[in-house]
Symmetry: C2
Subunit: 158 residues, 2 copies
DNA sequence: TCATAATGATTAGTGTACTAAATAATAGCT
DNA sequence: AGCTATTATTTAGTACACTAATCATTATGA
C-alpha cells in the first residue's frame, strides 16, 4: 500500500510526511539540547562538529571539513570564519596550491577537547535510547540518504 | 555500556554523536528533496507544513500553527508573513481579542492542494523505507523528543 | 603555449530557527 | 477602578543552510 492508495486520508497524516516531519522536529530538538550543553564551551552545534573533525585531524581543507559535515562549502566558510573570530582556529592559504585554505586548531581550540568529551555522554542520557536502537536508526538514516542521492543522480542523468 | 566507558575511542565515533549527526544530516537531505519537489508550488518545506495544517483547519492562530509545527512563535511569524506576500494566506487581527492574529488561506493557497498531494508520494519513493519501519522510526523520534522535554523540565525545576 | 575547463573558496541573496526584548491587549486581583 | 501578571505577536540580533554567481588559481588539451 503506497501513499496514492491512501488518498482518502488527509495529507498531513500520510506516513511519508509524518516520517519527514518527525525527523525535522527531532533534529531541531536535539540541536537545541546541544546548544544548552555547548553553552559553556561557547560554540554552536555545527561549530562543535567542525571541532570534532579537527580534533581527529588538524589542518584540513575547508572542503574536507564541509564534506565531513555533509555541508556545502558556502555554508562551511562562514562557520569557520566565526570560529576564527572566536580564536578557535586559524585559516591559512596553502603554499603549494593558492586555491586551498587549510584550517588549524589554535591552543584555545585544542583546549576545549576535554570538556567536549562530556557532551555526548550527557546528550546520550537525554535521548533515552540504548546503543542497539541507536545503531539501527543510524543505519536507516544512511539508507534514506543513499536513496535520496541515487534518486537525484538518476534525475540529473535524464 | 555508556559513553564514559568508551573513552578510548574518538568523540566523533561515540554513538550519541553519531545518532544526532545522522538525524541532523538526514533531516537536511530530506528538506533539500522537499525543496525540489515543492519548487513547482513555489513554497519551502516549512511553508508547505503550514499549508498542511491550514488545509486541515482554516483560520488558525499564529500560535496554533507554530505549535503544530513545533516552532517558536518568533519563527512562525516571518514564515507566515512571506506566505502572505506570496498571496497564499491573509492575516487578520481577531475582533474579540486584538492580541490574536488569525491566518486564512486565500483562493491561491487553497488551489495548491491538489498538486501538493503528489509530494509525499514522490518523497516516499525517495526515502525507500516501508511503512512499518517508518512507523517505528516515528515512534523512536517521539521517544527522543519526550525524553529531551522531560530532561529540560527537570533542569528548569531545580 | 595558450585558450578553456575545472577546482577551491568566497560572496550575495533568501529563508529558516533560535533567544531575548519590546509591544499591545486582556485577565485577575484587591 | 486600577495595578499587575499573563498572553499573543512582533522585532532585533545571531547563526545556520541553501543556490547561484564570482574570483583566483591550477589543470588540460588541441
Amino acid at each position: 500500500m503506497n501513499a496514492r492508495s491512501n488518498s482518502g486520508s488527509s495529507p498531513l497524516l500520510l506516513i511519508e510526511n509524518q516520517l519527514c516531519f518527525a525527523l525535522y522536529t527531532t533534529s531541531r530538538a536535539i540541536t537545541k539540547q546541544y546548544s544548552i550543553l555547548l553553552k559553556d564551551l561557547g560554540v554552536t552545534y555545527p561549530q562543535y562538529l567542525a571541532l570534532l573533525v579537527l580534533w581527529e585531524r588538524d589542518g584540513l581543507l575547508v572542503q574536507e571539513i564541509a564534506r565531513a559535515l555533509e555541508l556545502d562549502g558556502a555554508t562551511a566558510t562562514p562557520i569557520l570564519q566565526r570560529m576564527e573570530k572566536l580564536g578557535l582556529v586559524t585559516r591559512k592559504r596553502s603554499a603549494e596550491d593558492e586555491r586551498r585554505v587549510q584550517v588549524y586548531l589554535t591552543q584555545k581550540g585544542r583546549s576545549l577537547y576535554d570538556r567536549a568529551l562530556e557532551v555526548p555522554y550527557e546528550l546520550g542520557r537525554a535521548t533515552g535510547l540504548n546503543e542497539q536502537i541507536a545503531k539501527r536508526i543510524i543505519k536507516q538514516m544512511n539508507t534514506i540518504k543513499k536513496h535520496l542521492a541515487a534518486q537525484n543522480r538518476n534525475a540529473a542523468g535524464l
